[in-house]
């Protein structure tokens, strides 16, 4: 029972991370029709920024996260303006461009951070929250969970209560129809990639003190993001959040009771099963030709 409760807490924390970067990926795909392969590298840039500014130059953690968010957002906006917009007519071109960005960001991170060992960021929030002797949660993970939930809540509020949010959802549903209604789709694309990239930057900032930071850390992120996106339903934001939490729970419990290797294999099998049995995912919508 103790292990069960601990696993639920660990699953929730992990789910928060997964949701942050998966939602960004879904947002970009939904609005722009681009599968952004460099999304994992945007998370990596966020984490690297924390390492550089906070661990190396002593900038406080919160301002460092702010810088990470701004920096990754700018990278996302540049990608939109110079790569995705010119190649909008050809989704494959956008995908290939994003793969190019992936390698460029890895090389830039290597040039800045140097070769060699993974980077480490001492947790800004030291200590452990002891709820029970068996239920001990590092303050850093508590902080990450709170920020993740807050960011996702803010995004939900933005999408459902703001004019831009409505327009963004309209473009995600049908770009041409939205344009005919007078919605500036270019501006909405900018907002979508800006928000998606900002969430990736935030995810990188939150995960930085909890993991090994290296230029290739985006690989694992993008694989997880794809699984979550497919399970949740490609293009569905609420599906992505739900799938992130469910997948995190699934992965955590599989790891605890069957081992990490089995958990990884089962995660990929889950994705394949969803693709075969319910291609629209948990909350995706079938679109007729």
């Amino acid at each position: 029972m103790e292990l069960f409760l601990l696993s639920i807490v660990n699953g929730l924390i992990q789910g928060g991370f997964f949701a942050l970067f998966a939602v960004g990926l879904v947002l970009i795909f939904g609005v722009m029709g681009v599968v952004n392969f460099a999304h994992g590298e945007l998370v990596m840039v966020g984490a690297f920024t924390i390492w550089l500014l906070h661990a190396q130059y002593g900038l406080s953690y919160i301002p460092a996260i702010m810088v990470a968010i701004v920096l990754v957002t700018v990278i996302g906006l540049l990608m939109e303006r110079f790569l995705f917009r010119p190649t909008r007519a050809d989704p494959l071109a956008g995908l290939i461009c994003s793969i190019g960005v992936l390698f460029i960001l890895q090389v830039v991170a290597t040039l800045i951070g140097g070769d060699g060992p993974s980077k480490q960021v001492p947790p800004p929030y030291q200590g452990t929250l002891v709820l029970f002797e068996f239920l001990r949660i590092p303050y850093q993970r508590v902080f990450s969970l709170i920020i993740s939930v807050s960011a996702l809540g803010s995004l939900w509020f933005f999408l459902t209560r703001s004019k831009f949010g409505w327009a963004l959802r309209a473009v995600a549903q049908d770009r041409e129809a939205a344009a005919l209604q007078g919605i500036n789709t270019n501006r909405i694309s900018i907002i979508a990639i800006g928000v998606g990239a900002a969430l990736a930057g935030l995810a990188g900032g939150l995960v930085a003190p909890l993991t090994n930071i290296n230029p290739h850390m985006g690989h694992n992120v993008i694989i997880t993001a794809f699984i979550v996106t497919i399970v949740g339903g490609v293009g569905s934001l609420s599906g992505a959040v739900l799938a992130a939490v469910l997948y995190a729970m699934f992965h955590t419990f599989m790891t605890v009771y069957f081992g990490g290797t089995v958990a990884t294999i089962c995660g990929l099998i889950l994705m394949v099963v969803v693709l075969i049995v319910k291609p629209t995912g948990l909350m995706g919508v079938r679109i007729s030709e």
């Binding site: 992990q14 452990t128 090994n212 230029p215 605890v256 990490g260 990884t264």
Partner: protein, 422 residues
């Protein structure tokens, strides 16, 4: 404020050297001196970079020292040492490209490699060329690779010494759990060795938790392992030591910790606490350790080497920082004895030595029983424990002594994981 004579001499000498050297090539060799090239086909970028790049830095320090002292006399010639490096980023295709370039174009006389699948990728071609090649993973050796040798690190055989020491000094520990990545090259080899060592030491292994390289959160893994209530938490490879230690700390683990390596342990202390890391057992010393000045250590001025390395590369010291240099020094001695730099002659000379000069002493050739060739040098190996925030050698265990008695147990566990044995 005055300036001392020593400061004046030091400053003017440095300035003079700078002025003179600015008009010369970066490396100046004495007239008549030959150059022998030694290759390092290693990962310098990517996940495996910590096991390659620090070794290059270390070898460059050794080569610079030798060259500054006038080079090395081999046979009738005097040689400067030149290190030729190639970054294969642990990519098999690049490893083959780099190896062929070094042998065919650069004319290197020995190639140092990390080991694993990259060595497997070059092995056949290397044997056709009869090129002397070294690895840090003795499990790379096969009956078909007579020119592949492991003269320094014998990963993961040395881990037995840490477990032996643990059992001797902490007889209260009865159970252990092993956590590692599930690859056959590093993780499973090390797991089998630890399982054998624990069995010999009378410590029951209550959990072997294998995971992939895609883990982003170690909390569930550590929770799962700690639920088995082991007295000892064992990390069989070094890839994820820091996040594992962090989770152990936060989840309140109070038992003993043993690890193959504890690279960058100061960062682990920063992420946990000095008290938590205290007493952690591992296998790779810092080179400012006083015990390395004792007789029987085959490495010149370890303290100076440590200081030079940390001055030039303050954040890059890892287990391999001294291992590739030790291999280089070993090769130089072999070449001196052979009187030539030609790979076959040096290889034959090294292997004909019944008591090879192993870095920590007590070396002997071993490996035929397990891998089909006595091409691994095993000897004494240090057991290192964190004391007052600093890694310190406690004693030297005997890998060869353990293997003489218990090789059968090791073979049993290697086979149980499906690992190659003869």
């Amino acid at each position: 404020m005055g300036i001392s004579r020593r400061d004046f001499v030091r400053t003017t000498t440095a300035a003079g050297a700078l002025v003179v050297s600015s008009g010369l090539p970066s490396r100046v060799f004495a007239a008549g001196q030959k150059t022998v090239k030694v290759g390092m086909n290693i990962p310098m970028t990517g996940d495996y970079a910590p096991w390659g790049l620090p070794g290059l830095y270390g070898c460059q320090i050794i080569a610079d020292d030798i060259n500054a002292a006038g080079g090395v006399n081999i046979g009738d010639d005097n040689y400067a040492i030149e290190i030729v490096s190639y970054d294969h980023a642990y990519d098999l295709e690049k490893a083959v490209q780099g190896y062929k370039k070094m042998v065919s174009e650069d004319d290197v006389k020995m190639v140092m490699m990390l080991g694993g699948s990259t060595v497997g990728a070059i092995a056949k071609w290397a044997e056709r060329k009869k090129m002397l090649t070294t690895t840090l993973l003795c499990s790379d050796i096969t009956p078909d690779t007579p020119n592949l040798i492991a003269t320094c690190e014998s990963h993961p055989l040395y881990n037995v010494t840490g477990v032996e020491w643990l059992a001797k000094h902490h007889p209260e520990v009865k159970t252990a759990a092993i956590v590692t990545n599930n690859d056959a090259e590093y993780g499973l080899q090390s797991t089998a060795t630890y399982q054998a060592a624990f069995e010999v030491a009378g410590i029951e292994v209550v959990d072997v938790n294998l995971h992939g390289f895609d883990v982003t959160d170690f909390a569930p893994i550590v929770s799962s392992v700690l639920a088995k209530k082991p007295d000892v938490f064992c990390m069989a490879t070094s890839f994820y030591v820091t996040p594992l230690m962090e989770q152990l700390y936060h989840q309140g683990f109070k038992g003993k910790i043993i690890s193959c390596t504890l690279d960058y342990y100061d960062e682990i202390i920063a992420k946990t606490s000095k008290e938590f890391v205290e007493g952690t057992i591992f296998q790779f010393p810092d080179f400012d350790d006083p015990k390395l000045n004792e007789s029987g250590i085959n490495f010149p001025n370890p303290g100076d080497f440590d200081a030079k390395f940390r001055k030039s590369h303050p954040n890059d010291w890892s287990a391999v920082a001294w291992e590739y240099p030790a291999i280089l020094l070993n090769w130089i001695e072999g070449a001196k004895q052979a009187g030539t730099v030609e790979p076959q002659a040096v290889s034959a000379t090294l292997r004909s030595n019944k008591n090879p000069a192993f870095i920590f002493g007590g070396g002997k050739w071993w490996g035929k029983d397990l891998w089909g060739q006595d091409n691994v040098v095993v000897g004494r190996w240090p057991v290192v424990v964190v004391k007052d925030g600093k890694a310190r050698i406690q004693e030297y265990g005997s890998v060869s002594g353990w293997l003489d008695k218990h090789a059968g147990v090791l073979t049993k566990y290697m086979k149980s994981h499906g690992l190659r044995t003869v």
